[in-house]
Symmetry: C2
Subunit: 333 residues, 2 copies
């Protein structure tokens, strides 16, 4: 198939356009917003496939189960919503041990407990590769969901935490065995693998940012460049990103030479950090930064500015401007 | 893996037991019932995997898309709920044409329109085999969901419509080419394949049955024997099924000799009919039957009775009793 993931989504979106009763927001954001009784609900779903999103040999069943929940919770966070319920559909090959399945569900349960949602049901199937499809239903006060489409020219672009550690973990897991073994004897090596296997969803941070008043938000699942380009497309704006300001994960800086990777490139292009990217008026920046630090100890870094027009520009440390290409993780690449 | 599907579900259920805030009903029924604002919501999910649930060569993309929606809508029906929103996660191999994907989503859209639900979002992925995971969110008046657990000894067991056509369609699709070609020149042959490819969810019928006052309900996705055994397990009762009363689909009767199958065996053991199985007090039977016929032209047949204890017994036309074995479709068999 010749379509990229974004092209496919655009085609599906066109095909499904039309009157959709009760739907406040649908395809094109991190999650859908629908009317439910007197309130609004947030719906999201995410699929993880063995051989595409993970290898059974390189992540424990427990971590995999937890991650399948957390990536959906992160989509809830991106809307400033509270996750409430999870449904899990699973496909299992014949060679999977019952104990592996028990660990997998143990990981899901632990993640549900941590983020205060209930795992309420699902579907079990035989399959060739392990397939995990999780749907999360969440709540938001009516009209309070933060979407991808509210960014205004002049808004600052901010990100929580630091970037690139998960991409560093992926590079490590694909490195020659000798390199990987040496890396795992170092704190940065274990930290990078942990970032990939045990992501954290920024639910509380997102709600705080929404209270302070961010104008748009998205979670960084596919990389800063790609996810920022999606946010800009929905907001019909452009962006300038100052590469020197991008908060590169410390462990990635420490391990970049050993792994032979460019840390800024991974921080901008790598996926699976599950940090938040938001846009905010300059006058709200300091308050947002203070609240996140005080309540969660989480940093907030301004990395650029929203511009008019549709171009995405990267400004290097030497001041040179290049197009910021959305080279992040494409599930169809 | 040595566990059957039901054993796996039992293990997962045990693992996930504990306090689940806002959950009225969870694993063990057709769908979960959760608190949502001032009302209740119904959540269900169902996965279809190429090579397990379907072959790409033997169902059109349009029918496949519609079926993926309808099987979830049928789970809504089984709870007497109204479907409102659908989410679709999909895995697509590289050899799938864009036109096939467009047809698939066209079928989903058509089914959503038919059952008055909105397709609000999803997730797209690369995979080895086509994987379709659909989640449907529905509504029900608080306390009005019909579960699997309310059957009482003495209740009659009723089914809507007729049974076995989908299993006949499956037998036809697996028959030698000469047999299949001859079958497809007959009305019954086309009818059997249609039953398999284009199931109908009994949403209106289910709500009518709930109004009349059925005591428990389930949709027949895995076959009368298997689904009745699940309903009986949740209600802690047994059942006697009169095989002579089981409403065998006419097309299956017509084609049984040509296909070399036992029609009653397929009607009792075959899956994917998506008819409703319910239990009802004798005094309500005639009214239920009259309402279904008048409003929908759908028949309602009493096929047996709920008993004390946990055994499931089949009574043959000769009066001989044998255990009713849950030999229906097990996704792990």
């Amino acid at each position: 198939m010749e379509l990229s993931e974004d092209e496919l989504i655009a085609a599906i979106r066109k095909l499904l356009a039309g009157e959709q009763p009760g739907v406040a927001l649908w395809i094109g954001d991190d999650a859908a917003v629908v009317e439910a009784g007197t309130g609004q609900q947030i719906l999201t779903t995410d699929m993880m496939i063995e051989g595409v999103h993970f290898e059974r040999g390189s992540i424990s069943a427990r971590d995999l189960g937890a991650k399948a929940i957390v990536v959906n919770v992160s989509d809830m966070a991106a809307m400033a919503a509270s996750p409430r319920y999870a449904l899990v559909s699973i496909g299992l090959p014949r060679d999977v041990e019952a104990s592996w399945v028990v660990e997998l569900y143990g990981g899901m349960r632990a993640a549900c407990d941590e983020y205060a949602l209930s795992l309420v049901g699902g579907d079990t199937n035989r399959s060739e590769a392990v397939v995990l499809s999780v749907t999360v239903v969440g709540e938001v006060a009516p009209g309070r969901a933060v979407t991808r489409s509210g960014a205004q020219p002049g808004d600052l672009i901010v990100v929580t935490g630091s970037l690139g550690a998960a991409a560093g973990g992926l590079a490590l897991s694909r490195a020659p065995r000798a390199t990987a073994t040496r890396a795992l004897s170092q704190p940065w090596g274990r930290e990078l693998l942990d970032a990939l296997a045990r992501p954290i969803a920024r639910v509380g941070e997102a709600q705080t940012l929404a209270q302070v008043g961010v104008t748009s938000m998205i979670d960084l699942s596919d990389g800063l460049a790609k996810d920022l380009s999606r946010l800009c497309a929905e907001s019909d704006v452009g962006a300038r990103v100052d590469l020197g300001k991008v908060p590169v994960a410390g462990a990635l800086r420490d391990g970049a030479v050993a792994l032979g990777v460019d840390p800024v490139e991974l921080a901008v292009g790598g996926g699976e950090d599950y940090e938040l990217l938001a846009t905010i008026d300059l006058t709200d920046l300091e308050r947002a930064r203070g609240e996140l630090d005080e309540r969660f100890g989480t940093s907030l870094t301004d990395v650029g500015v929203i511009t008019e027009g549709r171009g995405l520009v990267a400004v290097g440390v030497d001041g040179r401007e290049t197009p910021l290409r959305p080279l992040g993780w494409d599930h169809f690449a």
